[in-house]
C-alpha cells in the first residue's frame, strides 16, 4: 500500500446522500477474481446510459472534474454491501481522498485497507467545498500528519482520525504483516480457550 502523507488534487463533487456500494460498483462487475481494473466500472449506471454513452449531467463526467482525486459527498456514503470492490473501483479510478458528512462502517474500514483517506466534515463544510468546486481546477491539499484540509483561498478544515488508521495510512503498512508480530499472543489465546 502506498503511504499517504500530503495529497493535493482536484475536487469532484457528488451531491447525494446514502450512496450505496451497489451504485459505486454494480454487481455484474463483482465476478472478477482480480483486485485491479475496477475503475472503469465505477458508478457504472450513473456514468453511462443504457447504450454505454457517458451521461453528460453526471458530475464525474464533466470535463472540469477529469483527473480529480478528491471526492466530496453527503451523508452515509458507502452504505449497503461489504464489497471491497467499491474502494478498489474508487482508487483505481484515481481517487485518494474522500470528504463526506458520514460513512458506513464497513466501507470506511475497507478504504483504510486500500490507502484511501476518508475525512468526515460537517454539512456546511461539505456544501462550501462543493460550491468552491464549481470553479474549474479547484484543488484541495490534505495534510494527514497535521489532520488538516486547506485550499489557497483561506479555507481550512481540521479533521479527526483515530491513531491506528492514521498510522496505517501514513506508513502504507501491510496489516497482516503487523499482526503476525503478535503471533505469540494469538497462540496463547488459542491455548487458553481450547
Amino acid at each position: 500500500m502506498e503511504p499517504l502523507r500530503i495529497h493535493t488534487g482536484v475536487v469532484c463533487p457528488l451531491n447525494r446522500s446514502n450512496v450505496d456500494t451497489d451504485q459505486i460498483i454494480p454487481k455484474q462487475f463483482l465476478k472478477r477474481i482480480e483486485r485491479s481494473g475496477f475503475g472503469q466500472f465505477l458508478f457504472y449506471h450513473w456514468r453511462f446510459d443504457d447504450d454505454g454513452n457517458l451521461r453528460k449531467d453526471f458530475s464525474m463526467n464533466l470535463p472540469k472534474y477529469q483527473g480529480a482525486s478528491i471526492l466530496v459527498t453527503g451523508e452515509n456514503f458507502g452504505c449497503g454491501s461489504s464489497r471491497e470492490h467499491a474502494p478498489w473501483a474508487i482508487q483505481d479510478f484515481g481517487f485518494r481522498v474522500i470528504i463526506a458528512q458520514s460513512y458506513a462502517d464497513i466501507f470506511k474500514n475497507n478504504c483504510v485497507k486500500n490507502g484511501i483517506l476518508t475525512i468526515q466534515a460537517s454539512e456546511e463544510q461539505v456544501q462550501s467545498i462543493m460550491q468552491n468546486a464549481e470553479t474549474e481546477g479547484y484543488t484541495l491539499t490534505v495534510n494527514l500528519e497535521e489532520q488538516v484540509v486547506f485550499d489557497n483561498q483561506g479555507l481550512e478544515i481540521k479533521f479527526d482520525i483515530a491513531p491506528y488508521p492514521k498510522e496505517m495510512l501514513l506508513n502504507g503498512w501491510d496489516e497482516i504483516g503487523v499482526t503476525l508480530n503478535y503471533e505469540d499472543k494469538i497462540s496463547q489465546y488459542e491455548v487458553a480457550h481450547k
Binding site: D20, I106, N110, I186
Partner: protein, 472 residues
C-alpha cells in the same frame, strides 16, 4: 458485585487477544464463513505472500451468489463459473471445508450456518458479506467484513477492531396478527433511518423480540446493516437452545447442558447500560412496503407514497424526487394501488422453512396474477427438501409460482434471475437500491406473506384483509 454488562460487552471481552492504548483491540474470530464473491482476492493475497490459512477448522465455505437456481449443475456465464471454480480450487489448496453446488449442505451462507449448528451463542463470526449480522439472532457477535479483512482473518484468525458503541433497540408489546418480523425491522429502519446504527452494535430486546421464533429473529438481525449497524444481537434464551439442540456442530449430551449454562450467562444482565436506547411499540407496526430506493423509505400498506413538496430541506426533497422518479411512482399515490410484475420469495432475510410455510398459507387455493412472474427460491438445499416433504412446493407450483433451487438469486441478480429494466418486483429480500435486482429494476421490500398476497392480486394488498376468498 460486578458491574452489570450487556451481551455485546461480554462477548467482546471474551475475545480480546491483545489490548494497547491508542490501538483497536485484537479480536479473536471463532467462525469465518466464506463465499465465492469476496474471497478470491484474499486467497490470492495469501498465495503471493506465502501465507497459510491459520485455522481451516474454524473456516467454512459455500457457494451461493452466482449459482443457478434452475439447474444446480450448470452455470452459463463463464465469468461466474470461473469464480465458482476458483473457490473450489482455493478450498482444496488451503484445506478449507466447502459445500459446493451439489453438496446436500449447500445454500445461502447465512441460512446454512445456523442450520448446521455452526452458529452458536457467544461466538465471534465474520464473513465477507454485510448480512453476516443474521447470526446475531443466536447471541453471536457477527459482522460483515471486506476482502482485506477476509485475508487478515484467514492468515491470523483475528481482526483489529475498536470496541463498538452499544445500542438497545427495545420493542415493547406484541406484534399484531398478520404483522411479521420483516415488518418490524422495516418499521424500525423506517422510523429511525438507514444510519442510526452506524458506529453501534445493536441488541434487540423487549417482549416482542422474546416471542419471535429463531427464524424470525434471524430476519430482524439480518437487516441490522440496513440500519447502519454492522451487527445486531438478541440475547440467547430457551428458544435459542431449543433450536440448536441436536444440530450437527452443536455439542451433544452432557456437553450440551454445559454449553447451555455458559450461553445463558451471556444474556444481558439486569441493569446493564448502553450508549444509546431507542424504543418502538410493536402494536403500532403495520405490514410494510418500501416505496423508494433505500430500506428506510418504507410505509405501512395503508399509507400513501410521500410528497417531496412536504419536505423543507432541499437535499431531502431532491432525494425523494429522485427516488420517485426512479421507482416510477406519483407523490401521494396509495401504495396499495401499485401494480407489480415480479415476485421474489427468497434471500438470506426470508427464505427459511417458516417463511415458505407462511407464504404458502396465503397462496393456497389461489392463482398467481397473469401479469406476474413469481419465483420461490429456498435458502438452502435442506430447506428445499423439508418444504417438498410437506408439499409446500406443490402449493406454490399449483398457484403458478416457479419452484427453484437454493441460492442468493434475485436478491442481487448475480446469477440469471434478473428483474428486467422497468420491471417492478415485490421482494422478500433486504435491499431496494437502484438496479439491485437488475439494471433499471424497481424493488419493493415486503414480508413473505405480503409478497404472496401481491403475487395473487397483482398489486400490493393488506395481507390482514386477504382471506381464502381473496382480498376483502
Amino acid at each position: 458485585m460486578q458491574k452489570p454488562k450487556n451481551i455485546i460487552q461480554k462477548v467482546w471481552e471474551q475475545h480480546v487477544v491483545y489490548q494497547e492504548a491508542g490501538k483497536p483491540d485484537l479480536l479473536y474470530i471463532d467462525l469465518h464463513l466464506v463465499h465465492e464473491v469476496t474471497s478470491p482476492q484474499a486467497f490470492e493475497g495469501l498465495r503471493m505472500n506465502g501465507r497459510k490459512v491459520r485455522r481451516p477448522d474454524l473456516t467454512y465455505a459455500t457457494m451461493d451468489h452466482n449459482v443457478s437456481t434452475r439447474d444446480r449443475n450448470e452455470i452459463k456465464d463463464p465469468i461466474s463459473k470461473k469464480q465458482i471454480d476458483t473457490l473450489k480450487e482455493n478450498c482444496q489448496e488451503f484445506g478449507v471445508e466447502l459445500s459446493d453446488r451439489q453438496h446436500p449442505d449447500n445454500g445461502i451462507v447465512h441460512v446454512i450456518g445456523p442450520e448446521l449448528g455452526l452458529t452458536q451463542p457467544g461466538k465471534t463470526i465474520v464473513c465477507g458479506d454485510s448480512h453476516t449480522s443474521t447470526h446475531g439472532a443466536f447471541g453471536a457477535l457477527a459482522f460483515g467484513i471486506g476482502t482485506s479483512e477476509v485475508e487478515h482473518v484467514l492468515a491470523t484468525q483475528t481482526l483489529w477492531q475498536a470496541p463498538p458503541k452499544t445500542m438497545n433497540v427495545k420493542v415493547n408489546g406484541k406484534l399484531g396478527t398478520g404483522v411479521t418480523a420483516k415488518d418490524l425491522i422495516l418499521a424500525i429502519i423506517g422510523k429511525f433511518g438507514v444510519q442510526f446504527g452506524t458506529g453501534y452494535v445493536m441488541e434487540y430486546t423487549g417482549e416482542a423480540i422474546r416471542s419471535l421464533s429463531m427464524e424470525e429473529r434471524m430476519t430482524v438481525c439480518n437487516m441490522s446493516i440496513e440500519a447502519g449497524a454492522r451487527a445486531g444481537l438478541i440475547s440467547p434464551d430457551d428458544t435459542t437452545f431449543e433450536y440448536l439442540k441436536g444440530r450437527r456442530h452443536v455439542p451433544k449430551g452432557e456437553a450440551f447442558e454445559e454449553a447451555v449454562a455458559k450461553w445463558r450467562a451471556l444474556a444481558t444482565d439486569e441493569g446493564a447500560v448502553y450508549d444509546a436506547v431507542v424504543e418502538i411499540e410493536a402494536s403500532e407496526v403495520e405490514p410494510q412496503v418500501t416505496w423508494g430506493t433505500n430500506p428506510g423509505m418504507c410505509i405501512p400498506i395503508t399509507a400513501a407514497v410521500p410528497n417531496p413538496d412536504h419536505e423543507e430541506k432541499a437535499n431531502k426533497k431532491d432525494e425523494i424526487s429522485r427516488a420517485l422518479q426512479y421507482m416510477g411512482l406519483e407523490a401521494g399515490q396509495p401504495i396499495s394501488s401499485v401494480e407489480i410484475d415480479h415476485v421474489f420469495i427468497g434471500s438470506c432475510t426470508n427464505s427459511r422453512l417458516s417463511d415458505l410455510r407462511k407464504a404458502a398459507d396465503v397462496v393456497r387455493g389461489h392463482k398467481v396474477n397473469p401479469n406476474v412472474k413469481a419465483i420461490v427460491v429456498p435458502g438452502s438445499f435442506s430447506v428445499k427438501m423439508a418444504a417438498e416433504k410437506e408439499g409446500i412446493d406443490q402449493i406454490f407450483k399449483e398457484a403458478g409460482f416457479e419452484w427453484r433451487e437454493a441460492g442468493c438469486s434475485m436478491c442481487l441478480a448475480m446469477n440469471d434471475d434478473i428483474v428486467p429494466p422497468g420491471g417492478r418486483c415485490a421482494s422478500t429480500s433486504n435491499r431496494n437500491f437502484e438496479g439491485r435486482q437488475g439494471n433499471g429494476s424497481r424493488t419493493h421490500l415486503v414480508s413473505p406473506e405480503m409478497a404472496a398476497a401481491a403475487a395473487v392480486a397483482g398489486r400490493f394488498v393488506d395481507v390482514r384483509q386477504f382471506t381464502a376468498q381473496g382480498v376483502l
